[in-house]
Symmetry: none
Subunit: 268 residues, 2 copies
């Protein structure tokens, strides 16, 4: 089993059925993904699943969050899962195999979150606005909707399979970066240069979310956003910033810029 | 979905839990395998599964057998599944991926049976004696045993995946995008949706450069950049914006934002 699976986070959003929580945990353990998080799970389901016989350490350590932004704050790539076929998607939709290839690459250098929505509704558009892109298991057109535990098993299998294929094979362009290396503070103003190795590391979601908040505020102050369009604008801005694929050091610099601009606007 | 999946027969031997029978049927339907057979199922489990709400045609048509030989009589290849690792196997054991390749080939010309044993004991040595060989899903050594419904889903997925690979050529994700196509105006404010084709296209350098200029000006006005550090800052900003990998439509939106902010700063 590939060591990179330890960088995978499975995030359940609004899960209702304790059996499904248990099934997801079991599939994770089968394929070596050990970090489970839940956002607003049905309280009873969550308690039952955690206390089930044989639930094991993985479920015992599983964490609960009240909002999705917090649940993915330390991840540099966030991927939603969907059964949707041709509904107009607001951001890129990849088939599992291609998705697993990209996730596998990213897991080499940082934490990746894979989101599963509720059994009934899947992920909402708001949930999806926290994702860089979505993926889909290629099923029969006549029967797209998979059971949650089974979908998780298939995703874990494909990620594990990828890991085995790619660990020995040629690695991507970020080969030089050393694991666990902390990015140093680097600013446009400061003399520090953004080194190649650091740049290779993608930004986690927490600074990106903060950029979004500051930029939104600046846009509000500038009159770019009309009051009535605010919710939509916020969601669209969130999606856009995730498409930028920011590197960690850049996100820091960029956040500094936006904040400075915001302060200036607030002086007025 | 590959047409060859119609030549796949899933055979459950001694299954005890109706939920598992239902889960196997669901995964089969998801991936286009429609022929389910059961050998000596627990009578009650079988009845319950067949009568479950939404069980559908696949379960309605599922046949029951009293012995395995009959259940696989019309198949030209019979493959057992096992969670066993290195226990002395009486015949060849293949990992799922390799197994799926061989099964896929065989499904082109004849019927193939894939057997799943009972939840508790798996397939007996006698059951395995009806198999040409066995296959195993590559799981973590510490946690080999998979849930039946999940194992079936993974096997169906891998067989379907194989089918697709060999029937069509692998398609690239953004193949439809045409080069040189002009991006249309799309804004956060405007109602225009960012269409798929446009989003796939990366921004040209000209709008990115304009973003850089406007942002630099805003940073100057905000006091982020000291006069003496300007040249370096400009270059660093330019590099950073290029690392963002902006899509064409996003670059346009972003330029609009930065300009609006800049105008507001200039009002002062």
């Amino acid at each position: 089993m590939s060591g990179e699976m330890k960088n995978l986070c499975v995030v359940l959003v609004g899960t209702r059925n304790p059996l499904n929580v248990g099934a997801v945990a079991r599939a994770m353990s089968n394929f070596g993904a050990m970090e489970l998080r839940a956002v607003r799970p049905y309280e009873k389901a969550w308690r039952e699943a955690k206390s089930a016989v044989g639930a094991g350490e993985l479920l015992a350590r599983a964490k609960e969050f009240t909002d999705l932004a917090q649940a993915v704050a330390d991840c540099s790539l966030v991927v939603g899962t969907t059964a949707v076929g041709n509904r107009e998607m607001k951001h890129p939709l990849r088939e599992l195999e291609e998705a697993a290839r990209l996730i596998g690459k990213r897991m080499k250098t940082g934490r990746v979150a894979v989101l599963f929505g509720s059994e009934k509704w899947g992920l909402s558009n708001e949930d999806l606005s926290y994702c860089h892109w979505s993926m889909r298991i290629p099923t029969r057109v006549e029967h797209r909707s998979m059971n949650l535990g089974q979908a998780a098993a298939v995703v874990m299998y494909e990620l594990g399979r990828r890991g085995r294929i790619t660990t020995e094979a040629a690695e991507g362009p970020q080969r030089t970066q050393r694991r666990g290396e902390k990015p140093k503070r680097a600013g446009l103003k400061a003399s520090a240069t953004v080194k190649k190795a650091e740049r290779g590391k993608f930004a986690e979601m927490e600074p990106v979310e903060r950029i979004g908040e500051a930029l939104l505020e600046a846009l509000r102050k500038s009159g770019y956003i009309a009051a009535r369009g605010e919710a939509t604008a916020e969601e669209k801005l969130r999606r856009m910033l995730r498409r930028f694929l920011m590197h960690a050091a850049d996100a820091e610099v960029f956040l500094g810029m936006v904040r400075k601009i915001l302060w200036k606007l607030e002086e007025k």
